[in-house]
């Protein structure tokens, strides 16, 4: 008797709980991504813009300006954390929940393909089309998947080769030229070259640059891995050889952006591959030893400028948004010349519009722009694939082993190839 008395309420509670949580979690799957993409195209009204932490206060003034001009279609800013991984996971959760409250989201260039293949991003075609003719082509490519534009390029980024003007008379144009200048580093008792070689996203950037600059490619145009080529091998070998013979100092395998910048600013490196943000810090920080001797040039390649990996963000519209007409207008607003200029001056974000790189006023303020333009024009997006998380892991894991000398270049590339094949094979 007692047991049965006891069980009844408990069982009721249990069943209630399961039902409750089922209601909360399931959500039903009434609209699939492709249906949702045809709805709300003419919707106008308030929308939300989602982006990572607005460190240099660029977004708020822009949104205020937009809101003043569009009182009935106000934009609310939803600020995420400053961690890229967390931004990614936050977006995934909201898209999976078909959240209509995430109308426009700022998407890192490497996530575009994944989100597009999941059916979460509104294709920007037909009614939703966007004029991209004034934009730098690599930024448009990085926002496209299978030939369709899924996001509006918002800001860009590319690698720059910083060098010591006092020690290097003419900046190197090719990798071999740069390596031949390492004797200068030796006589001055400093390291020759460094990028970011810790096992993290930065290593994918550096390894892809090495491969692309030597004429290879991580993926072919059909998205299949293409690493078993002489060019890819030459590119990887450039890195492993430089590390083995000391041209890249041994501590570089613990470097992220900041550590490598610090080493360069302390006068311990002759060449540094890094992003444009280094310019401001290296020329203004009191402790910087390279303040007056900072040179900038395009990344070295095989016969000319190398192929930088592309950074930056694009603005995408969620398929679950109800006010897509407003959202498209907002995307256009983000890519106007005026807005792009504001991004550059206020936030040091590289514009996506080619002509701004020749704007005298801007160049006076951001002297790295001409070099950056070369860099972005020659840039290759990091592998555009919906399996990017697996692809970047495969590159990091094997490039790291190869640089440390635990694997031959051939073995590393073949393992990379097989890992990427396996990742895209599905199950």
């Amino acid at each position: 008797m007692k047991t049965r008395n006891f069980l009844l309420p408990v069982a009721t509670a249990g069943i209630l709980a399961i039902t409750l949580s089922a209601c909360g979690g399931g959500g039903g799957g009434t609209t699939s991504g492709s249906d949702a993409a045809s709805q709300g195209l003419d919707g106008r009204g308030p929308i939300t813009y989602v982006q990572g932490k607005d460190n240099s206060n660029v977004v708020r003034p822009l949104i205020e300006k937009w809101n003043a001009a569009h009182p009935n279609e106000k934009v609310t800013f939803k600020e995420q954390t400053d961690q890229a991984d967390q931004q990614h996971d936050d977006l995934v959760q909201h898209f999976q929940a078909k959240d209509a409250g995430y109308d426009v989201a700022s998407v890192d260039v490497v996530w575009t393909a994944e989100f597009a293949a999941k059916g979460w991003l509104q294709p920007l075609k037909d009614k939703m089309a966007l004029d991209t003719s004034a934009m730098l082509k690599p930024t448009v490519d990085a926002a496209s998947y299978k030939g369709t534009l899924y996001a509006a390029p918002e800001s860009s980024d590319g690698g720059i080769l910083y060098y010591r003007k006092d020690l290097v008379p003419t900046p190197p144009k090719t990798w071999d030229e740069m390596m031949s200048m390492c004797s200068i580093a030796k006589t001055n008792n400093i390291g020759c070259y460094s990028g970011q070689f810790k096992k993290y996203e930065g290593l994918t950037v550096n390894a892809s640059e090495a491969i692309n600059s030597a004429g290879g490619a991580v993926l072919d145009e059909n998205g299949k891995p293409n690493l078993l080529t002489a060019e890819a091998k030459a590119g990887m070998a450039n890195l492993t050889k430089a590390y083995a013979d000391g041209a890249i100092p041994k501590e570089a395998i613990t470097f992220q952006e900041e550590e490598s910048r610090q080493a360069f600013q302390d006068g311990k490196l002759l060449f540094l591959r890094n992003w444009p943000y280094v310019y401001n810090l290296a020329t203004t920080e009191g402790s910087s030893k390279v303040k007056d001797v900072l040179g900038m040039t395009a990344l070295p390649g095989k016969d000319g400028p190398g192929a930088s990996s592309l950074g930056g963000h694009s603005a995408a519209i969620s398929v679950y948004s109800k006010n897509k007409a407003t959202a498209v207008d907002f995307l256009k607003f983000l890519t106007t010349e005026e807005t792009q200029k504001f991004f550059a001056t206020q936030g040091s974000l590289a514009p996506v519009l080619g002509k701004l790189y020749d704007d005298k006023e801007l160049v006076a303020k951001l002297p790295y722009l001409p070099v950056l333009k070369t860099s972005i024009e020659n840039a290759v997006p990091r592998p555009v694939t919906p399996f990017y998380p697996a692809v970047t892991k495969a590159i990091q894991e094997n490039a790291y082993s190869a640089i440390k000398g635990e694997k031959t270049v051939d073995a590393a590339l073949s393992d990379m190839q097989k890992s990427i094949e396996s990742a895209s094979a599905g199950q």
């Binding site: 991504g33 501590e251 790291y400």
Partner: protein
Amino acid sequence: MATEVGPTSVKAPASGGAPIHHAPKGVGEDNRIATQGRWAAWLLAPTILALSVVIVYPIITAIVMSFQKDAGLDPATGLFVEGGPAGFSNYYNWIFQQCPAPSGGTVDCPPGTLGAQFWSATGTTFFFTIVTVALETVLGFWMAVIMARAFKGRSLVRAAVLVPWAIPTAVTAKLWLFIFAFEGIGNKLFNTTVLWTGSEWPARWAVIIADVWKTTPFMALLILAGLQMIPAEVYEAAKVDGASAWQRFRMITLPLVKPALMVAILFRTLDALRMFDLPYILTGGANNTTTLSILVINQIRQGFNAAAALSTITFIIIFLVAFIFVRFLGANVVEQQTGAGKGKK
């Protein structure tokens, strides 16, 4: 800590009849017991409800998901499509390190895939657990013995010892990252040029050192609680009988502190088995410091269902370890040590 209100205080009314034992046995007693039992059950219901929502439901969902295939790409449209039922293949693939082959079927996971890291991650997890818990037990015991003595400024020492434990793990990891940087204090202080986060054994030791620094205080506090429950008379009697300091430690302190010690070790072991933030921030999992939890997080970004299978495997491993502790090593968490704390990092 011993007075902390734990889950047992909620359960207390459920054990029923105790308070009415003094009443004379009468006809109404059976009835009263039944009423009380039902009353207790209704009182318990909200707790059960809450537990079902926050514990049972996620676990069941994870298990259900682990039997689904991850979404695959439809080559024609370039869009992801649902994977369908997977049977045990997700589990099989992890344990036998199988990865999908381009031509269909599976192959041994090539290095660079997460699947290839399952056994090494399991090994690393257990390696970290055994080494850190052993070091923490010894150091924690030592600290507890010191803190148990009466001396001037004892409260200050106790508070100071707690500081590392009070710092969030992610912050600790960042602090040690600076210390272990190539140009960091670690190398400067000892005039070395070790690549702490760049080569295998230094990277492992970096994680171990940071973890021991952080969690020894937790161990010390739990052991201290046990030490203080030993009555001073026992030691006095032993002294009178002529027992040496070592004998007193071995014959009195150790057996009497054992229940508290086992609970402390159990909590730390379970904690260490799910170690994540320290290696993730310090080394990013490079140089064989990838633990099972890191592998789960990495897999989540590549496919939820395989990640669900992996977290279920991790759950089973941790559950087995806890079971062995409670069943065979006599870690009695529930009955005697109700207030021993909640193993929270």
